[in-house]
């Protein structure tokens, strides 16, 4: 009934696709870093008009299923890029582009929205007194943010960042819709040869669990490191 040797074989084949999924996860996090920080600031400082737009962006991207965002952007982006290439007179065949570009664009946009919420709540968790204390001892506002606020906000954000990374990683399982050869895509291809779908999906079930646990472990270690540094600073 269940072909165990196929299951084990597929497990190792799909392991080779882990870097692709991880790449999408962490590159989209990196891409989202600055825009998300900007959105968090705009919304915290309530900059007129723009903060409403930012709120709508965040609400829209968080309020619709990611699969729908993929479907929309994957049917829009290629033709937009195509007309852009034609408009700028460059002779680039749109079908030669690596589909991972679309995945990064979509996951980047989506991550920007979720990451901005993580940053916003982290920045709000830092007491206002910290900022005032920094200013009062003669630091410039930029210095206060870089040296006082951000390090504390980062610590507050770490658990949420961990959850977010795991969520993005889980969402990369939809990258196969854009013909990216991620874990799920490889499993699908392997399964299609002999209709061994159960085995293939069971194999990647374990792959996803292992990688997610590894991501969580990594964040746990950095959390411990950060709190250890704080303890040393406090002289405890």
């Amino acid at each position: 009934m269940i072909d165990y040797s196929f299951l084990v074989r597929t497990f190792f084949t799909t392991l080779k696709a882990v870097p692709v999924s991880l790449e999408i996860t962490f590159v989209s996090l990196l891409l989202a870093l600055l825009p998300a920080l900007l959105i968090a600031f705009i919304r915290l400082k309530k900059i007129p008009v723009v903060h409403r737009l930012a709120a709508v962006y965040v609400s829209l991207l968080r309020g619709t299923p990611i699969v729908l965002q993929i479907l929309v952007l994957y049917s829009l982006l290629p033709s937009l890029l195509h007309s852009y290439f034609i408009g700028t007179g460059r002779n680039v065949n749109i079908f030669d582009l690596n589909p991972i570009i679309y995945a990064l664009a979509i996951f980047g946009l989506n991550t920007t929205a979720t990451l901005s919420e993580v940053f916003r709540s982290a920045l709000m968790s830092v007491n206002r007194g910290q900022y005032e204390a920094g200013i009062s001892i003669g630091l410039s506002p930029l210095q206060v943010y870089v040296r006082i606020i951000f390090p504390q906000a980062l610590r507050a954000a770490l658990p949420n960042l961990c959850n977010l990374s795991v969520a993005i990683f889980k969402n990369t399982s939809l990258a196969f819709m854009m013909t990216v050869k991620d874990i799920t895509a490889v499993a699908k291809i392997e399964a299609a040869f002999g209709y061994n779908y159960i085995e293939a999906y069971t194999a990647i079930f374990f792959v996803y669990i292992i990688v997610c646990l590894a991501i969580q472990k990594l964040f746990k270690i950095s959390e411990d490191k950060l709190s250890f540094r704080d303890m040393k600073k406090a002289g405890a």
Binding site: T64, L71, Y201, C212
Partner: protein, 237 residues
């Protein structure tokens, strides 16, 4: 070269065609929430069980399912469940797709619900239960009258968020052929031979966005009611 123009007029048309299927999406998520509630109670009970083996198993279940992408579990259930049941002599290959979707989503959602309830239980602490027992309530009364009402109040914001993610994860059901909002949207596009793709997807996005905002508001309202009740009872000044 001529480019396809965006027909904004088609969005209301698509909305009208999509809205009858709102009930499918809502039905699936409500059924899932119902079953997952039961399963999550079992999981939490398992986690708190004094037998190490059971509590470890419940723990492992939650960890594993929290790490599983919805689409992977959906496929496992869709391809695996018929085979498993076939070995017991039950053929479910022609059963409605909704059963597979609800099964897969229930397995996933129960894991997140149990996490929420665990967190709420930790917040509540043992004192409430012990106080209830000490004034002479039975075990059952202590739970139904003291512990569970407070649990729901504490868990309410997280329950709202998790229901919203359930709504969004449910949209994947179209990949195994369920005709819910997403399924109907893709059917509309297919019937138009790929025309009005963007317009249909935008209509879908409007519906999902509205659903999310509505759910948020409903849970905010429920939180307010719960808070007022607490004040009236004199629990919170």
């Amino acid at each position: 070269m001529e480019y396809r123009i965006f027909y904004i007029q088609y969005i209301p048309v698509a909305l009208a065609k999509l809205l009858p299927y709102l009930w499918v999406t809502l039905g699936i998520t409500v059924a899932t929430a119902f079953f997952a509630l039961g399963l999550s109670v079992l999981i939490v009970k398992g986690q708190l069980c004094k037998y190490k083996f059971i509590s470890k198993m419940a723990q492992a279940y939650v960890v594993a399912l929290r790490c599983t992408p919805p689409i992977v579990l959906l496929f496992i259930v869709f391809f695996g469940l018929p085979q498993v049941l076939l070995s017991f002599g039950i053929n479910i290959n022609f059963w409605p797709k909704a059963i597979f979707v609800v099964t897969a989503l229930t397995l996933l959602y129960a894991a997140s619900l149990s996490e929420i309830f665990r967190g709420a239980l930790d917040t509540l602490g043992k004192g409430q239960y012990e106080a209830a027992i000490s004034i002479g309530l039975t075990d059952f009364q202590a739970y139904t009258r003291i512990v569970i009402p407070q649990l729901f109040r504490i868990a309410l914001p997280n329950l709202g968020n998790s229901y919203i993610s359930l709504l969004k994860e449910g949209s994947l059901a179209y990949t195994i052929g369920l005709i819910d909002l997403m399924g109907q949207g893709n059917l509309i596009i297919a019937r138009n031979y790929g025309g009005y793709t963007i317009e249909t997807y935008i209509a879908l996005a409007i519906i999902y966005w509205a659903l999310t905002i509505l759910t948020e508001q409903v849970f905010k309202f429920l939180e307010k009611i719960a808070a007022v009740k607490q004040v009236k009872k004199g629990v919170v000044q």
